[in-house]
Symmetry: C2
Subunit: 340 residues, 2 copies
């Protein structure tokens, strides 16, 4: 048998011969209430182990103090650090977080947005799935509820965006390769033009241009699913090119690790023959040998910053804000590009 009785304001009021209003005010430290009553009520509430029903409180004040978070996939190291940042900051600001996963399916993403709205979350944090085509519904949602996009964003949706300095990060990474003496740098990016992929590609182009290196079409490779397996596969393609590149920049660590695996199998020397550069600073990047040079993406900070802006917008009432905040990254140089 489970104990059911929960103590409510009414119980306290009856016991103390006070009105519910007075008890409520005393507990909420309202201004015009006598010190004596306040003291009396508070100590009695404590004694009775009273806790306010947050659900009722939220219902009454039309604020749930819940934030919704939708990410494409949780079991991804970077994403999990983003979530950690979100939870931590949310807790500090007094919000709970309902977490959900769109599994990279746009239809599921829409369903979740709908569900979150229906549930009455005070604000929504969204990292878009790949192939988010129909942004109309998302824009419509943003008109009714504070929305912040993070990491995986779209310029077509006007709201606050929290991202990393994608282009600059890629630029610096590729420039690092150039500084180590590499001249024929290949890139592996996504076929689908996701925001992240495109920005990193831009950074790559910018670095080549700045250093007057030619842009060679055969060095620009794309794959649908930017994974370890495809990295392994594309590595063969890279090696079969008429003129072999002397460095490969892949826009994810997973893919870079796939490339390294194939190169090692075929006895290609990394970085002397071909250097490899990733993006994310995943846990794997220090497990693979040689250790991977990569761009560190501060997930916690992205998560925490998103909450900060979202809460600001929630408190800001009707004001819809749209600003883009870029979180700084930094390059972590390791063995896979190290000049000896």
């Amino acid at each position: 048998m489970r104990k059911k009785t929960t103590i409510t304001l009414k119980h306290l009021a009856e016991d103390l011969n006070l009105s519910v209003s007075t008890v409520s005010r005393a507990l909420n430290n309202h201004q015009d209430i006598s010190a004596d009553t306040k003291e009396l009520v508070c100590s009695y509430a404590k004694k009775m182990n009273y806790f306010p029903n947050l659900f009722a409180k939220g219902f009454r004040s039309q604020k749930t103090h819940i934030i919704g978070l939708i990410v494409p996939q949780i079991s991804n190291y970077f994403t999990s650090t983003v979530i950690e940042g979100v939870l931590q900051e949310a807790e500090e600001k007094g919000y709970r977080v309902i977490v959900s996963e769109s599994k990279n399916r746009p239809d599921k993403q829409e369903e979740l947005i709908q569900m979150m709205r229906q549930f009455g979350v005070d604000g929504l944090l969204l990292s878009l799935t790949r192939k988010t085509k129909n942004v109309q519904n998302i824009i419509a949602a943003a008109e009714r509820i504070p929305l912040v996009l993070l990491d995986k964003v779209s310029n077509k949706i006007p709201c606050t965006h929290i991202i990393i300095n994608e282009e600059q990060a890629a630029f610096e990474a590729v420039e690092h390769l150039i500084h180590t003496g590499k001249k024929n740098i290949a890139i592996i990016k996504e076929t689908e033009k996701s925001f992240n992929s495109e920005m990193r590609y831009r950074g790559y182009l910018k670095a080549l241009k700045k250093h007057n290196l030619p842009i060679d079409e055969q060095y620009i490779l794309s794959t649908e699913d930017i994974s370890l397996q495809h990295g392994q596969r594309l590595a063969y393609q890279i090696l079969s090119l008429q003129k072999r590149p002397d460095a490969v920049f892949t826009i994810t660590d997973d893919c870079a690790i796939g490339v390294i695996k194939t190169f090692k199998k075929l006895q290609i020397k990394i970085p002397d023959d071909i250097a490899v550069l990733g993006f994310s600073n995943s846990l794997n990047s220090t497990i693979i040998s040689p250790k991977l040079t990569t761009v560190d993406q501060p997930g916690q900070k992205i998560g925490a910053t998103s909450v900060k802006y979202l809460v600001e917008e929630i408190n800001n009432e009707n004001q819809v804000i749209s600003k883009t905040v870029e979180i700084k990254t930094h390059l972590v140089v390791r063995e896979s590009t190290l000049k000896l």
Copy 2:
């Protein structure tokens, strides 16, 4: 300016010249309501894009349809797969999940339990922090709210436990080492007697006993924090033993990878000189070379099963259930123990 007007039952009722009760019943497919009215109301609701306020619904029915989940750390591959399982099953059952992280701090864990209760979650899923000493408060919480412990559990807390077959899994893993001809098998476990560590240790002992191998105290190593770094450190200690073992079973993959790193640096041949065996089947286990033999822990299944039992308990009203469900694991044999 954000659009604020939300359509409520009252709006629909006024527009249709019906009572709120009737509209509510029509929408909820109540039995005694005329087909005509039902049709009328439903189509109008659809037209007006009405969605019920779930918060109000929950408030009224004293059911929030929210489950609380507390885990020690999210950014851990295994844990993130557990969360995926939880979210998926919860969604199917019509529950939302508030996720939170105790950061392995017992005080924080207690705070979170308190918060979840106060918030009125319908049930609580809890994976304990290491060093959970004071179980009184947790037991007290379980008296008021359905509670299911998962993965990191304690026998001192009477409620449903969803775990893997820890002892059996470790037994089979160590037996596999024995089958490959290893006779002097070391183990690295936790100093702190966590449930998981102790059960795996038991499995280790059981396998040695079954095969009449002596239990050698010097082969039983412990560390506070069972991490990659400590694996690296303990590998030196293992190599300095008077009689070197020919296999090492570490109770986590991370630690095993640390051991492998040190062994490789010192040119120890794996598995010929010393085999290495992990536990978890983390992503890293296939990145390290040689690839790690390990026990696959089906995180998704653990998560999903926990929700299944929790929801059952929620629907079961006052009945407090305490059963232990063991999820089957299986050994994944890879290079680090492969007999040539």
